[in-house]
Symmetry: C2
Subunit: 206 residues, 2 copies
Protein backbone atom coordinates (compact mmCIF):
# COMPACT_ATOMS: atom_id res chain seq x y z
CA UNK A 1 0.00 0.00 0.00
CA UNK A 2 2.65 2.54 1.01
CA UNK A 3 6.11 2.55 -0.58
CA UNK A 4 8.83 1.41 1.79
CA UNK A 5 10.61 4.73 1.69
CA UNK A 6 7.39 6.43 2.70
CA UNK A 7 6.81 4.10 5.63
CA UNK A 8 10.31 4.82 6.80
CA UNK A 9 9.40 8.49 7.08
CA UNK A 10 6.14 8.06 8.98
CA UNK A 11 7.81 7.96 12.39
CA UNK A 12 9.38 11.31 11.57
CA UNK A 13 6.01 12.78 10.64
CA UNK A 14 4.46 11.30 13.72
CA UNK A 15 7.03 13.00 15.87
CA UNK A 16 6.73 16.44 14.36
CA UNK A 17 2.94 16.30 14.30
CA UNK A 18 2.84 15.31 17.95
CA UNK A 19 4.91 18.39 18.62
CA UNK A 20 2.57 20.69 16.68
CA UNK A 21 -0.36 19.14 18.46
CA UNK A 22 1.20 19.87 21.83
CA UNK A 23 1.64 23.47 20.79
CA UNK A 24 -2.03 23.65 19.81
CA UNK A 25 -1.19 24.37 16.22
CA UNK A 26 -4.23 23.38 14.16
CA UNK A 27 -2.97 23.72 10.61
CA UNK A 28 0.43 23.10 9.13
CA UNK A 29 1.71 23.33 5.55
CA UNK A 30 3.94 20.81 3.86
CA UNK A 31 6.55 23.54 3.49
CA UNK A 32 6.62 24.20 7.23
CA UNK A 33 7.08 20.55 8.07
CA UNK A 34 9.69 20.20 5.36
CA UNK A 35 11.82 22.95 6.89
CA UNK A 36 11.55 21.39 10.30
CA UNK A 37 12.51 17.96 9.01
CA UNK A 38 15.11 18.93 6.45
CA UNK A 39 13.39 17.27 3.50
CA UNK A 40 11.42 18.68 0.54
CA UNK A 41 7.80 19.71 0.73
CA UNK A 42 6.88 17.78 -2.39
CA UNK A 43 8.17 14.63 -0.79
CA UNK A 44 5.88 15.18 2.14
CA UNK A 45 2.89 15.85 -0.10
CA UNK A 46 3.66 12.77 -2.13
CA UNK A 47 3.95 10.64 0.98
CA UNK A 48 0.69 11.94 2.40
CA UNK A 49 -1.08 11.55 -0.93
CA UNK A 50 -1.09 7.77 -0.44
CA UNK A 51 -3.72 8.31 2.24
CA UNK A 52 -5.94 9.90 -0.37
CA UNK A 53 -6.72 13.57 -0.29
CA UNK A 54 -6.57 14.72 3.30
CA UNK A 55 -5.07 18.18 3.12
CA UNK A 56 -6.86 21.48 2.60
CA UNK A 57 -5.75 23.32 -0.52
CA UNK A 58 -4.67 26.83 0.19
CA UNK A 59 -4.39 26.15 3.90
CA UNK A 60 -2.37 23.05 4.75
CA UNK A 61 -3.04 19.93 6.78
CA UNK A 62 -5.23 19.61 9.85
CA UNK A 63 -2.71 18.56 12.47
CA UNK A 64 -5.06 16.52 14.66
CA UNK A 65 -6.61 14.70 11.73
CA UNK A 66 -3.31 13.95 10.05
CA UNK A 67 -1.83 12.78 13.32
CA UNK A 68 -4.73 10.40 13.84
CA UNK A 69 -4.19 8.96 10.37
CA UNK A 70 -0.49 8.45 10.92
CA UNK A 71 -1.07 6.94 14.33
CA UNK A 72 -3.43 4.51 12.74
CA UNK A 73 -1.04 3.43 10.04
CA UNK A 74 1.78 3.10 12.56
CA UNK A 75 -0.39 1.01 14.80
CA UNK A 76 -0.11 3.61 17.53
CA UNK A 77 -3.85 4.02 17.89
CA UNK A 78 -3.62 1.57 20.75
CA UNK A 79 -0.74 1.34 23.20
CA UNK A 80 1.62 -1.61 23.05
CA UNK A 81 3.49 -3.34 25.83
CA UNK A 82 7.10 -4.37 25.65
CA UNK A 83 9.20 -7.02 27.36
CA UNK A 84 12.86 -6.13 27.62
CA UNK A 85 15.06 -9.19 27.68
CA UNK A 86 18.50 -8.47 29.07
CA UNK A 87 18.64 -6.16 32.09
CA UNK A 88 22.09 -4.81 31.34
CA UNK A 89 22.95 -1.17 30.84
CA UNK A 90 21.21 -0.87 27.52
CA UNK A 91 18.12 -2.70 28.71
CA UNK A 92 17.81 -0.48 31.75
CA UNK A 93 18.44 2.67 29.73
CA UNK A 94 15.64 1.69 27.35
CA UNK A 95 13.36 0.82 30.25
CA UNK A 96 13.85 4.32 31.58
CA UNK A 97 13.58 6.07 28.25
CA UNK A 98 10.63 8.43 28.36
CA UNK A 99 10.41 8.65 24.57
CA UNK A 100 8.83 5.21 24.47
CA UNK A 101 5.98 5.98 26.83
CA UNK A 102 5.34 9.26 25.05
CA UNK A 103 4.59 7.24 21.96
CA UNK A 104 2.30 4.75 23.62
CA UNK A 105 4.96 2.11 24.09
CA UNK A 106 4.98 0.80 27.61
CA UNK A 107 7.73 -1.36 29.03
CA UNK A 108 5.92 -3.82 31.26
CA UNK A 109 8.80 -5.92 32.57
CA UNK A 110 12.43 -6.91 32.14
CA UNK A 111 13.88 -10.40 32.03
CA UNK A 112 17.34 -11.73 32.75
CA UNK A 113 19.07 -15.00 33.51
CA UNK A 114 21.20 -13.42 36.24
CA UNK A 115 19.48 -13.94 39.60
CA UNK A 116 21.32 -10.95 41.06
CA UNK A 117 19.13 -8.76 38.87
CA UNK A 118 15.80 -10.29 39.73
CA UNK A 119 13.29 -8.27 41.70
CA UNK A 120 12.56 -4.58 41.74
CA UNK A 121 15.89 -3.18 42.92
CA UNK A 122 16.85 -1.72 39.60
CA UNK A 123 14.14 0.87 39.30
CA UNK A 124 10.39 0.99 39.08
CA UNK A 125 10.17 -2.08 36.88
CA UNK A 126 10.39 -5.72 37.94
CA UNK A 127 13.10 -7.98 36.55
CA UNK A 128 11.91 -11.56 36.14
CA UNK A 129 13.84 -14.76 35.50
CA UNK A 130 13.93 -15.50 31.82
CA UNK A 131 12.10 -18.75 32.52
CA UNK A 132 8.97 -16.76 33.33
CA UNK A 133 8.84 -15.11 29.93
CA UNK A 134 5.87 -17.05 28.61
CA UNK A 135 3.75 -16.82 31.75
CA UNK A 136 4.40 -13.12 32.29
CA UNK A 137 3.69 -12.43 28.62
CA UNK A 138 0.16 -13.71 29.15
CA UNK A 139 -0.28 -12.01 32.51
CA UNK A 140 1.01 -8.60 31.45
CA UNK A 141 -0.18 -8.68 27.85
CA UNK A 142 3.15 -7.95 26.23
CA UNK A 143 3.44 -8.10 22.43
CA UNK A 144 6.95 -6.96 21.58
CA UNK A 145 10.17 -8.54 22.86
CA UNK A 146 13.18 -6.23 23.02
CA UNK A 147 16.47 -8.10 22.82
CA UNK A 148 19.23 -6.29 24.70
CA UNK A 149 21.45 -9.29 25.25
CA UNK A 150 25.01 -10.07 24.07
CA UNK A 151 25.35 -11.21 20.49
CA UNK A 152 26.08 -14.78 21.53
CA UNK A 153 22.81 -15.03 23.46
CA UNK A 154 20.60 -13.39 20.87
CA UNK A 155 19.55 -16.45 18.87
CA UNK A 156 18.68 -18.67 21.85
CA UNK A 157 16.81 -15.80 23.47
CA UNK A 158 14.95 -15.17 20.24
CA UNK A 159 13.97 -18.84 20.17
CA UNK A 160 12.57 -18.51 23.68
CA UNK A 161 10.66 -15.38 22.76
CA UNK A 162 9.17 -17.07 19.72
CA UNK A 163 8.20 -20.08 21.80
CA UNK A 164 6.58 -17.73 24.32
CA UNK A 165 4.39 -16.40 21.49
CA UNK A 166 6.01 -13.07 20.64
CA UNK A 167 5.38 -12.12 17.02
CA UNK A 168 7.55 -9.01 17.03
CA UNK A 169 11.19 -8.72 18.08
CA UNK A 170 13.23 -5.55 18.41
CA UNK A 171 16.79 -6.78 18.26
CA UNK A 172 19.74 -4.70 19.47
CA UNK A 173 22.27 -7.51 19.11
CA UNK A 174 24.33 -7.31 15.91
CA UNK A 175 23.16 -10.71 14.71
CA UNK A 176 20.72 -11.79 12.03
CA UNK A 177 18.07 -13.90 13.70
CA UNK A 178 16.49 -17.01 12.26
CA UNK A 179 12.78 -16.98 13.10
CA UNK A 180 9.55 -18.42 11.68
CA UNK A 181 8.28 -16.22 8.91
CA UNK A 182 5.23 -14.97 10.78
CA UNK A 183 7.56 -13.30 13.27
CA UNK A 184 8.74 -9.77 12.53
CA UNK A 185 12.23 -8.68 13.47
CA UNK A 186 13.35 -5.07 13.57
CA UNK A 187 17.11 -4.72 13.74
CA UNK A 188 18.71 -1.84 15.58
CA UNK A 189 22.43 -1.41 15.32
CA UNK A 190 23.88 1.56 17.11
CA UNK A 191 27.25 1.09 15.49
CA UNK A 192 25.89 1.69 11.99
CA UNK A 193 25.16 5.32 12.77
CA UNK A 194 28.55 6.16 14.16
CA UNK A 195 30.40 4.28 11.44
CA UNK A 196 28.48 6.28 8.87
CA UNK A 197 29.50 9.41 10.71
CA UNK A 198 33.08 8.24 10.79
CA UNK A 199 32.95 7.65 7.06
CA UNK A 200 31.82 11.20 6.35
CA UNK A 201 34.39 12.54 8.78
CA UNK A 202 37.20 10.62 7.11
CA UNK A 203 36.04 11.69 3.67
CA UNK A 204 35.90 15.33 4.67
CA UNK A 205 38.83 15.81 6.99
CA UNK A 206 40.85 12.58 6.82
Amino acid sequence: MFPKATIARFPMYFRVLTEYNHQNIALVSSEEMAQKLGITSSQIRKDLSYFGSLGIRGAGYDVAYLLAKIKEVLGMDKSRRLAIIGAGKLGLALAGYSGLKQHGLEVAALFDTDDAKWGTNNGPLPVFPLTELASQKEKLGMEIAVLTVPASAAQPVANLAVKAGFKALWNFAPVRLVVPKDVIVQYEDLVVGILTLSHHLARKFG
Copy 2:
Protein backbone atom coordinates in the same frame (compact mmCIF):
# COMPACT_ATOMS: atom_id res chain seq x y z
CA MET B 1 32.32 8.05 -5.29
CA PHE B 2 30.15 5.43 -3.61
CA PRO B 3 26.35 5.51 -3.94
CA LYS B 4 24.59 6.41 -0.73
CA ALA B 5 22.82 3.10 -0.48
CA THR B 6 26.16 1.35 -0.72
CA ILE B 7 27.74 3.47 2.01
CA ALA B 8 24.80 2.62 4.23
CA ARG B 9 25.69 -1.05 3.90
CA PHE B 10 29.40 -0.74 4.64
CA PRO B 11 28.99 -0.91 8.40
CA MET B 12 27.18 -4.19 7.92
CA TYR B 13 29.99 -5.57 5.79
CA PHE B 14 32.51 -4.30 8.27
CA ARG B 15 30.78 -6.19 11.02
CA VAL B 16 30.51 -9.51 9.25
CA LEU B 17 34.06 -9.33 7.94
CA THR B 18 35.39 -8.63 11.40
CA GLU B 19 33.64 -11.77 12.50
CA TYR B 20 35.14 -13.89 9.72
CA ASN B 21 38.51 -12.45 10.53
CA HIS B 22 38.17 -13.47 14.16
CA GLN B 23 37.36 -16.98 13.05
CA ASN B 24 40.48 -17.01 10.89
CA ILE B 25 38.49 -17.48 7.74
CA ALA B 26 40.68 -16.28 4.89
CA LEU B 27 38.29 -16.36 1.95
CA VAL B 28 34.60 -15.66 1.76
CA SER B 29 32.18 -15.65 -1.18
CA SER B 30 29.53 -13.04 -1.83
CA GLU B 31 26.93 -15.76 -1.50
CA GLU B 32 28.11 -16.70 1.98
CA MET B 33 28.01 -13.12 3.18
CA ALA B 34 24.64 -12.62 1.54
CA GLN B 35 23.12 -15.48 3.50
CA LYS B 36 24.52 -14.18 6.72
CA LEU B 37 23.24 -10.67 6.08
CA GLY B 38 19.92 -11.46 4.49
CA ILE B 39 20.59 -9.58 1.25
CA THR B 40 21.42 -10.75 -2.28
CA SER B 41 24.88 -11.74 -3.39
CA SER B 42 24.71 -9.58 -6.49
CA GLN B 43 24.10 -6.57 -4.34
CA ILE B 44 27.25 -7.33 -2.40
CA ARG B 45 29.28 -7.80 -5.54
CA LYS B 46 27.93 -4.58 -6.98
CA ASP B 47 28.74 -2.68 -3.80
CA LEU B 48 32.26 -4.05 -3.67
CA SER B 49 32.81 -3.40 -7.35
CA TYR B 50 33.04 0.34 -6.61
CA PHE B 51 36.41 -0.37 -5.03
CA GLY B 52 37.59 -1.74 -8.34
CA SER B 53 38.30 -5.39 -8.80
CA LEU B 54 39.33 -6.81 -5.46
CA GLY B 55 37.80 -10.27 -5.38
CA ILE B 56 39.27 -13.49 -6.67
CA ARG B 57 37.17 -15.14 -9.36
CA GLY B 58 36.37 -18.70 -8.59
CA ALA B 59 37.35 -18.29 -4.95
CA GLY B 60 35.74 -15.27 -3.29
CA TYR B 61 37.11 -12.30 -1.38
CA ASP B 62 40.22 -12.18 0.78
CA VAL B 63 38.74 -11.35 4.17
CA ALA B 64 41.71 -9.46 5.59
CA TYR B 65 42.22 -7.41 2.46
CA LEU B 66 38.56 -6.57 2.05
CA LEU B 67 38.27 -5.68 5.71
CA ALA B 68 41.22 -3.31 5.40
CA LYS B 69 39.58 -1.62 2.42
CA ILE B 70 36.29 -1.20 4.22
CA LYS B 71 37.99 0.06 7.34
CA GLU B 72 39.73 2.63 5.24
CA VAL B 73 36.60 3.89 3.58
CA LEU B 74 34.79 3.98 6.91
CA GLY B 75 37.61 5.94 8.45
CA MET B 76 38.26 3.14 10.92
CA ASP B 77 41.89 2.79 9.97
CA LYS B 78 42.66 5.02 12.91
CA SER B 79 40.77 5.06 16.20
CA ARG B 80 38.54 7.97 17.08
CA ARG B 81 37.72 9.45 20.43
CA LEU B 82 34.25 10.45 21.53
CA ALA B 83 32.87 12.93 24.01
CA ILE B 84 29.48 11.99 25.41
CA ILE B 85 27.47 15.04 26.41
CA GLY B 86 24.69 14.17 28.82
CA ALA B 87 25.55 11.66 31.54
CA GLY B 88 22.02 10.32 31.89
CA LYS B 89 21.01 6.71 31.45
CA LEU B 90 21.52 6.66 27.72
CA GLY B 91 24.86 8.44 27.94
CA LEU B 92 26.13 6.01 30.54
CA ALA B 93 24.83 3.02 28.63
CA LEU B 94 26.69 4.19 25.53
CA ALA B 95 29.82 4.88 27.55
CA GLY B 96 29.77 1.29 28.72
CA TYR B 97 28.88 -0.22 25.38
CA SER B 98 31.65 -2.54 24.33
CA GLY B 99 30.60 -2.47 20.68
CA LEU B 100 32.10 0.98 20.31
CA LYS B 101 35.57 0.08 21.52
CA GLN B 102 35.55 -3.05 19.39
CA HIS B 103 35.26 -0.79 16.38
CA GLY B 104 38.00 1.59 17.36
CA LEU B 105 35.68 4.16 18.89
CA GLU B 106 36.86 5.21 22.31
CA VAL B 107 34.76 7.21 24.71
CA ALA B 108 37.25 9.54 26.38
CA ALA B 109 34.96 11.49 28.70
CA LEU B 110 31.42 12.47 29.58
CA PHE B 111 30.05 15.94 30.20
CA ASP B 112 27.05 17.17 32.12
CA THR B 113 25.72 20.37 33.64
CA ASP B 114 24.60 18.58 36.79
CA ASP B 115 27.35 18.88 39.41
CA ALA B 116 26.06 15.78 41.18
CA LYS B 117 27.36 13.78 38.25
CA TRP B 118 30.82 15.27 38.06
CA GLY B 119 33.81 13.15 38.94
CA THR B 120 34.46 9.47 38.49
CA ASN B 121 31.69 7.95 40.59
CA ASN B 122 29.68 6.70 37.68
CA GLY B 123 32.10 4.19 36.32
CA PRO B 124 35.58 4.12 34.88
CA LEU B 125 35.10 7.34 32.95
CA PRO B 126 35.27 10.91 34.26
CA VAL B 127 32.28 13.22 34.02
CA PHE B 128 33.30 16.83 33.47
CA PRO B 129 31.30 20.05 33.76
CA LEU B 130 30.00 21.06 30.37
CA THR B 131 32.00 24.29 30.63
CA GLU B 132 35.19 22.26 30.22
CA LEU B 133 34.16 20.84 26.87
CA ALA B 134 36.54 22.92 24.77
CA SER B 135 39.58 22.50 27.00
CA GLN B 136 39.10 18.75 27.45
CA LYS B 137 38.56 18.33 23.74
CA GLU B 138 42.08 19.61 23.15
CA LYS B 139 43.59 17.71 26.04
CA LEU B 140 41.98 14.35 25.23
CA GLY B 141 41.91 14.70 21.46
CA MET B 142 38.21 14.04 21.01
CA GLU B 143 36.68 14.43 17.55
CA ILE B 144 33.07 13.32 17.83
CA ALA B 145 30.47 14.76 20.20
CA VAL B 146 27.67 12.43 21.19
CA LEU B 147 24.52 14.26 22.25
CA THR B 148 22.51 12.29 24.80
CA VAL B 149 20.65 15.23 26.28
CA PRO B 150 16.92 16.03 26.41
CA ALA B 151 15.41 17.42 23.24
CA SER B 152 15.11 20.91 24.71
CA ALA B 153 18.84 21.05 25.44
CA ALA B 154 20.03 19.61 22.14
CA GLN B 155 20.39 22.82 20.13
CA PRO B 156 22.23 24.84 22.80
CA VAL B 157 24.51 21.90 23.51
CA ALA B 158 25.18 21.52 19.79
CA ASN B 159 26.13 25.19 19.66
CA LEU B 160 28.61 24.64 22.47
CA ALA B 161 30.07 21.60 20.75
CA VAL B 162 30.48 23.53 17.51
CA LYS B 163 32.12 26.38 19.36
CA ALA B 164 34.46 23.89 21.01
CA GLY B 165 35.56 22.79 17.55
CA PHE B 166 33.72 19.51 17.04
CA LYS B 167 33.08 18.81 13.37
CA ALA B 168 30.99 15.70 13.90
CA LEU B 169 27.92 15.27 16.07
CA TRP B 170 26.06 12.05 16.84
CA ASN B 171 22.67 13.26 17.97
CA PHE B 172 20.27 11.07 19.96
CA ALA B 173 17.80 13.87 20.66
CA PRO B 174 14.79 13.88 18.30
CA VAL B 175 15.54 17.38 17.03
CA ARG B 176 16.95 18.65 13.77
CA LEU B 177 20.04 20.67 14.61
CA VAL B 178 21.08 23.90 12.95
CA VAL B 179 24.85 23.86 12.49
CA PRO B 180 27.45 25.41 10.17
CA LYS B 181 27.69 23.43 7.00
CA ASP B 182 31.17 22.10 7.65
CA VAL B 183 29.78 20.24 10.65
CA ILE B 184 28.39 16.74 10.09
CA VAL B 185 25.40 15.54 12.07
CA GLN B 186 24.33 11.93 12.29
CA TYR B 187 20.84 11.53 13.67
CA GLU B 188 19.90 8.52 15.73
CA ASP B 189 16.30 8.05 16.72
CA LEU B 190 15.50 4.94 18.67
CA VAL B 191 11.79 5.49 18.31
CA VAL B 192 11.89 5.13 14.53
CA GLY B 193 12.79 1.48 14.76
CA ILE B 194 10.05 0.50 17.13
CA LEU B 195 7.44 2.55 15.33
CA THR B 196 8.36 0.77 12.14
CA LEU B 197 7.98 -2.51 13.98
CA SER B 198 4.63 -1.39 15.33
CA HIS B 199 3.52 -0.53 11.82
CA HIS B 200 4.32 -4.00 10.53
CA LEU B 201 2.69 -5.56 13.57
CA ALA B 202 -0.49 -3.56 13.06
CA ARG B 203 -0.55 -4.36 9.36
CA LYS B 204 -0.15 -8.05 10.01
CA PHE B 205 -2.16 -8.73 13.11
CA GLY B 206 -4.07 -5.52 13.88
